[in-house]
């Protein structure tokens, strides 16, 4: 009997990493309609495991990232008494939206090496290489990207915002602002123990303009002449309509 128990413990120890994420999303599509006013996404799930829970506490880190694009950062300085854009730096890649939610402060649940490997924290999610020599303080520019986007609600640091019950059930909600860009929003769930990632899962949330928004946007890009003429036709018609309606009101 004692032998069996010992064997069971060994197996548990060996398979300590065998924990898997089972995920649910309140929605995997966000439709940007004309009345789009932001969206709240509920991310929830469970940790599936075949063996008893290990002693060290499990932590959960969840990231949602919008499509990454290069961003041009400009800095103003005073020239001839007025403030004008003088320095410019192109950040190679920065997500248009980024949220990190975790069960505890990020530095406690994630080691620096793992952060570097998986690019989890906001600072790591932005990639900037090869700043020109004219700009010695390139770091200020990437910090500016984070600061400006955080103030606009586009970058969110949601520490302690993931609820974890019984080391098994987790859930969090992420508010997406109204000013979203289109694309696949990569959603990653990491399970960490002692700062190491023991398991992870990746899925994506599809954010798309739909209906009228979709139609107008693609028309303006694919058939700009038709789009321009349509704008003018609406303007001319509205101008004529107002004049005619007003004349009717006066005469009638």
């Amino acid at each position: 009997m004692r032998l069996i128990l010992a064997a069971a413990l060994t197996i548990t120890a060996l398979a300590a990493g065998a924990e898997e994420v089972v995920l649910g999303l309140s929605k995997d599509k966000v439709a940007i309609t004309t009345s789009f006013d932001g969206s709240e996404i509920l991310i929830f799930g469970a940790v599936k495991r075949e063996e008893p829970i290990a002693e060290d506490p499990l932590e959960v880190v969840i990231t949602v990232a919008g499509p990454s694009e290069p961003v041009v950062v400009r800095r103003k300085s005073r020239k001839f008494g007025i403030w004008v854009n003088t320095d410019v730096l192109e950040v190679d890649s920065a997500p248009s939206f980024y949220a990190v939610a975790s069960t505890a402060p990020l530095q406690d649940v994630l080691s620096n090496t793992e952060d570097q490997r998986w690019k989890i924290s906001i600072e790591r999610a932005i990639r900037s290489v090869g700043a020109p020599e004219t700009i010695p303080d390139a770091k200020n520019f990437t910090e500016a990207v984070i600061r400006i986007r955080r103030d606009a609600g586009l970058y969110q640091m949601l520490e302690d915002q993931v609820a974890l019950d019984q080391q098994t059930l987790f859930r969090t909600s992420i508010d997406m602002p109204a000013d979203l860009t289109e694309g696949d929003y990569t959603t990653r769930i990491f399970l960490t123990r002692n700062g190491d990632v023991v398991s992870h899962l990746e899925t994506s949330i599809d954010v798309r303009k739909v209906g009228l928004e979709r139609w107008l946007f693609s028309l303006s890009r694919n058939r700009p002449i038709l789009y321009g003429l349509m704008s003018l036709a609406i303007a001319i018609f509205a101008g004529w309509g107002a004049s005619a309606a007003f004349r009717l009101l006066r005469n009638g």
């Binding site: 940007i32 309609t33 004309t34 009345s35 789009f36 006013d37 932001g38 694009e69 290069p70 961003v71 041009v72 950062v73 400009r74 800095r75 103003k76 300085s77 005073r78 008494g81 007025i82 403030w83 004008v84 854009n85 410019v88 192109e90 200020n140 520019f141 500016a144 990207v145 600061r147 400006i148 986007r149 109204a178 000013d179 860009t181 303009k209 009228l212 928004e213 107008l216 946007f217 303006s220 890009r221 700009p224 002449i225 789009y227 321009g228 003429l229 349509m230 704008s231 003018l232 609406i234 303007a235 001319i236 509205a238 101008g239 004529w240 309509g241 107002a242 004049s243 007003f246």
Partner: protein, 306 residues
């Protein structure tokens, strides 16, 4: 009610836009100005990207000018020939303006240029209007002095390529009207305005046109210049936001009709002073933004604007 603008990619309150359109429409009906020079800075304030604000405002001016010119056609106060000559200059100017606009956009200086243009022109126009209406109020209190004499012959009359403009009763060179057209065209493209507030004084004081045909003729050519500007922005920058334009239009055309009615009942000089003060306030706010240290020195933009 929030509305997501497909091109500007921001979400704004629809009633705020209708209200802004209506407010500027009322002012334009009351004072006979296009209102673009007030609307575009207001759009900056509520967070519409400047490039979208400028392009979309051009489209809105097409509507308000078209509405206005119909009334002038009925009263036969449009000098078509003069309008066409101004138009030749205007289209050339608009094309140049969009080229300048795109070049500066690639340098990241377009905001600066648009703002500088605004500070300069709002300051000058607001200041002149303020002084002029103060003088008018003083004069009406004193009780009508002698009417100012109109200069008969100016340097304009010495230039070659003369042409007869019957409706305006003028026989002058085509160079000054083409020149005025070019300047207004450039401004229309860069500032997203019709340019009426520069065109009208230029027609009266430089070309010597009779006041009664000035507004109609100016509106006539503004329609074509702003339509052309709209097309250029729509095809080269993709920055015309049709949803934004429609919201501003609806508010604007209704406001303009209300404004015309209010304008008929109120005293002109006091209203002009109010308008002048408002223009100066907008100008002052834009100037302060340039002069004071901004709270955020950094700004973000999309890459690949070259």
């Amino acid at each position: 009610m929030q509305i997501y603008l497909p091109i500007a990619e921001v979400s704004v309150n629809a009633f705020l836009l209708l209200g802004l359109g209506g407010l500027v429409g009322i002012l334009s009906g009351m004072f006979g100005v296009g209102g673009g020079f007030l609307m575009t800075p207001l759009l900056f304030f509520i967070g519409i990207p400047p490039a979208v604000a400028v392009a979309t405002e051009a489209n809105q001016i097409v509507a308000s000018s078209f509405s206005g010119v119909l009334a002038h056609f009925r009263r036969k106060t449009v000098d078509l020939k003069m309008g066409l000559v101004l138009l030749v200059g205007g289209l050339t100017g608009a094309a140049l303006g969009v080229l300048v606009f795109n070049y500066l956009k690639s340098l990241g200086q377009v905001d600066l240029l648009v703002r500088l243009c605004y500070v300069l022109f709002l300051g000058v126009v607001g200041g002149l209007m303020f002084l002029e209406s103060l003088r008018a109020i003083r004069k009406s209190r004193r009780g009508g002095g002698p009417p100012p004499k109109r200069r008969q012959r100016t340097w304009v009359h010495a230039l070659p390529f003369k042409m007869r403009f019957r409706t305006s009763g003028l026989y002058i060179s085509v160079i000054p009207p083409v020149g005025v057209g070019i300047v207004v065209g450039i401004l229309a493209a860069i500032m997203g305005v019709g340019g009426g507030f520069i065109m009208v004084p230029a027609m009266i004081y430089i070309l010597g046109m009779p006041t009664k045909v000035v507004v109609g003729t100016s509106l006539f050519q503004i329609i074509f210049v702003t339509a052309f500007t709209t097309m250029l922005h729509a095809t080269t920058n993709f920055t015309v936001d049709i949803v934004l334009a429609v919201l501003l239009l609806v508010g604007g055309v209704i406001g303009a009709q209300i404004g015309t009615q209010i304008g008929l009942r109120l005293k002109a000089e006091q209203l002009r002073i109010l308008l002048a003060l408002m223009v100066l306030v907008v100008c002052g706010k834009l100037a302060l933004d340039l002069l004071l240290q901004p709270s955020e020195l950094y700004s973000l933009g999309a890459a690949g604007g070259h």
